[in-house]
């Protein structure tokens, strides 16, 4: 496959579980600085797609190129070091650690065993934690045990842990699940802020939210792409209305 200008180029990607094709010859390109939202009915393969990009699931066939580097055979932690950050569907944070520690641990220094032993929490780290904490609306919660945060705040914290790594591609699986209306608004604002200088892929079901944030929308159905384009165009597409949005 030739090199491209895209941040992420997925071509002919296929993966099957016991004969069931969860992702079926899927081709998808994400631009630099783009915020793409993926929607689709349950079981369409949205989460599986993110799993394949970050390495949680191994691809059966096809290619995933990030900044023209082939990812399909690469170990998960190496993909992260290349600049891919993944937020899971249910917030995955370290409940026993403080908010500060959660962010500190995600700082991309001291990632080897010896590096971790020698790691010192320098002013640089503290400053970075402070910046990110302000971004995710948690700067006054740094000392709190992360398990005590509300569900929405946990979602933010996980996004913050990814931001610590300054990733070039963010994969966010249902970032506003369990959030109040106010929190959703703040999150939309947050996502618009953080998609500068990086690409973001968001899986979301809330159409109002999608409308607010998406540059482009991809609709998935049965492991394939059903439609792609701006929100208005996708919403008007009869195929999409048929399988997903409803009449």
């Amino acid at each position: 496959m030739s090199n491209t200008d895209f941040a992420l180029a997925i071509e002919d990607l296929t993966v099957s579980f016991d004969g069931f094709k969860a992702i079926d010859a899927l081709t998808l390109y994400i631009d630099k600085n783009e915020l793409r939202v993926i929607i689709g009915p349950n079981g369409a393969g949205k989460t599986t797609l993110l799993d394949l990009i970050c390495g949680k699931t191994k691809a059966g066939a096809g290619s995933i190129k990030f900044k023209n580097t082939e990812l399909t055979k690469m170990a998960e932690f190496k993909r992260v070091r290349l600049g891919i950050g993944r937020k899971f569907q249910t917030p995955s944070i370290y409940e026993n650690l403080s908010v500060f520690q959660n962010l500190e641990v995600s700082f991309p220094k001291g990632r080897s065993v010896l590096g971790a032993l020698a790691f010192k929490c320098t002013d640089e780290v503290r400053a970075r934690v402070q910046v990110v904490a302000e971004d995710i609306f948690l700067s006054d919660r740094l000392d709190l045990e992360a398990g005590l945060l509300s569900h929405g705040q946990k979602q933010w914290l996980e996004i913050g842990m990814l931001l610590m790594q300054e990733p070039e591609l963010l994969l966010l699986d249902e970032p506003i699940a369990g959030m109040s209306a106010r929190e959703r608004e703040l999150t939309a604002e947050l996502l618009q802020r953080i998609c500068k200088n990086r690409s973001v892929i968001v899986i979301e079901h809330d159409m109002d939210f999608v409308k607010r944030i998406a540059h482009k929308v991809t609709v998935m159905h049965q492991g394939k792409i059903l439609a792609e384009g701006p929100m208005e165009q996708v919403q008007a597409d009869p195929k999409v209305i048929d399988v997903y949005l409803g009449h």
């Binding site: 970050c54 949680k56 170990a75 998960e76 932690f77 992260v80 070091r81 950050g85 993944r86 899971f88 995955s92 944070i93 370290y94 409940e95 026993n96 650690l97 403080s98 500060f100 520690q101 500190e104 641990v105 995600s106 991309p108 001291g110 990632r111 080897s112 065993v113 971790a116 032993l117 790691f119 929490c121 503290r126 934690v129 740094l142 000392d143 045990e145 842990m161 790594q165």
Partner: protein, 401 residues
């Protein structure tokens, strides 16, 4: 003075200091040398228990084969001591003088090549740490890189314990077989059997143990310790934050093996023999019980656990020799069900709150004032873990995952 107090708080050294006073002052004054030597023997097991706190409590990986590493360290030391005890003059009645007696009984007529480097103390000391670490690296690299963990890993360590025991017993001419290596007497001419030598070895053991605890505490308080807890509870999150989880597990397992090896070597020195009965499955499981009773999240607790269980073992096995094994099993089941965090957990959840309440009523400043003073104290960044409660030492779901 403030700096010292700060250091003590940061690394939670108060409990280590209490332990140091108990081991280095109280016990030597209270016990005769026979009993103290016995305590010294138990303390060599405590090296294994401390290692288990790191690998099991912090790393979340249960190993039921730590006896192997204890044994390898012990054998490495014993081989040196045995060679020194087998000089041509003492062994002149053998058909081949100058080799260990059990080799002579097994019709071996020359020192095997494997044994030759063990004539030299520096090599033996190196092997005490290197051999267990190397084996631990091989086992853990093969397992953790393939993401084998939890119960499966525990079973594999049991298999390793069984294999190594069979190997040692089977290769009688090279290892002394089921009797092990006995009659170890001197180190470079220094007789280890005198009371004076026993005191020195006891203190060597105490110093080594305290140094090991401090080293582990240093790891726990740093980023590596935080990561270990993080990957125990949320392995995927750590992996997808750019860490190679397997490498951290391998490191902790090798660390625990190295500590066990040092413990084994000190055992050979203090007790004067080494045998396969410290290598197999039963001693390995016993060592896990020591750590479980003491508290698998507490380095200091592991030492108390080891001392208590062994003191109980000595006492009860004298009085009820047939019942001891059953009592040991009941103890393990009881501990894991009734207080899963062991003695240290009880201390933390019952004794400390009681103590704080008592102190609270006797005119100390109210907690809010203490908190404010703490926040204002120089040298302690406000976002750092609080001296107590802030660190995630006792997670409710910790352990076997």
């Amino acid at each position: 003075m403030n700096a010292v107090r700060d250091l003590i708080k940061r690394y939670q050294l108060a409990s280590v200091l209490v332990l140091a006073v108990l081991l280095a002052v109280v016990l030597p004054l209270a016990l005769d040398i026979f009993r103290l030597n016995l305590v010294g023997k138990y303390l060599t097991y405590a090296f294994v228990a401390v290692g288990l706190v790191m690998v099991w409590g912090y790393g979340g990986v249960l190993s039921l084969g730590q006896g192997v590493f204890f044994g390898l360290g012990g054998y490495a030391m014993a081989m040196f001591l045995k060679l020194e005890a087998s000089d041509p003059i003492t062994t002149k009645i053998q058909s081949t003088p100058g080799i260990p007696d059990f080799m002579d009984w097994n019709q071996i007529t020359a020192l095997p090549a494997l044994w030759v480097p063990f004539k030299y103390l520096p090599f033996a000391l190196f092997a005490v740490v290197a051999v267990p670490t190397l084996l631990a690296w091989i086992v853990s690299f093969a397992m953790f890189k393939r993401r084998v963990g939890g119960v499966y890993f525990a079973i594999i360590t049991q298999a390793v314990a069984l294999i190594v025991t069979v190997l040692i017993i089977g290769q009688q001419g090279y290892t002394g077989g089921v009797n092990g290596m006995t009659d170890l007497k001197t180190v470079l001419g220094w007789d280890t059997r005198t009371d004076h030598a026993k005191y020195i070895l006891y203190y060597l053991c105490v110093a080594g143990l305290l140094a090991s605890i401090l080293f582990c505490r240093w790891i726990q308080t740093g980023k590596a310790g935080t990561l270990l807890l993080a990957m125990r509870d949320k392995e995927d999150r750590v992996r997808f934050s750019g860490y190679d989880v397997a490498n951290f597990r391998i490191f902790t397992f090798c660390l625990a093996a190295a500590l066990a090896g040092i413990g084994g070597a000190l055992f050979s020195l203090q007790v004067g023999f080494m045998s396969p009965s410290f290598v197999g499955i039963v001693p390995s499981v016993e060592m896990v019980i020591f750590a479980a009773v003491g508290g698998r999240m507490s380095l200091v607790g592991a030492v108390y656990g080891t001392l208590l269980v062994n003191a109980g073992k000595t006492f009860f096995s004298e009085s009820f020799p047939d019942l001891w094994l059953f009592m040991m099993a009941a103890l393990f089941i009881g501990v894991t069900m009734a207080f899963p965090m062991g003695l240290a957990g009880l201390w933390e959840s019952h004794v400390m709150p009681w103590w704080r309440r008592r102190r609270g009523t006797s005119g100390s400043p109210p907690p809010a004032v203490v908190e404010a003073a703490r926040a204002a104290a120089p040298g302690r960044p406000k976002q750092g873990p609080a001296p107590s409660g802030g660190r995630p030492v006792y997670s409710p779901d910790g352990g076997l995952q």
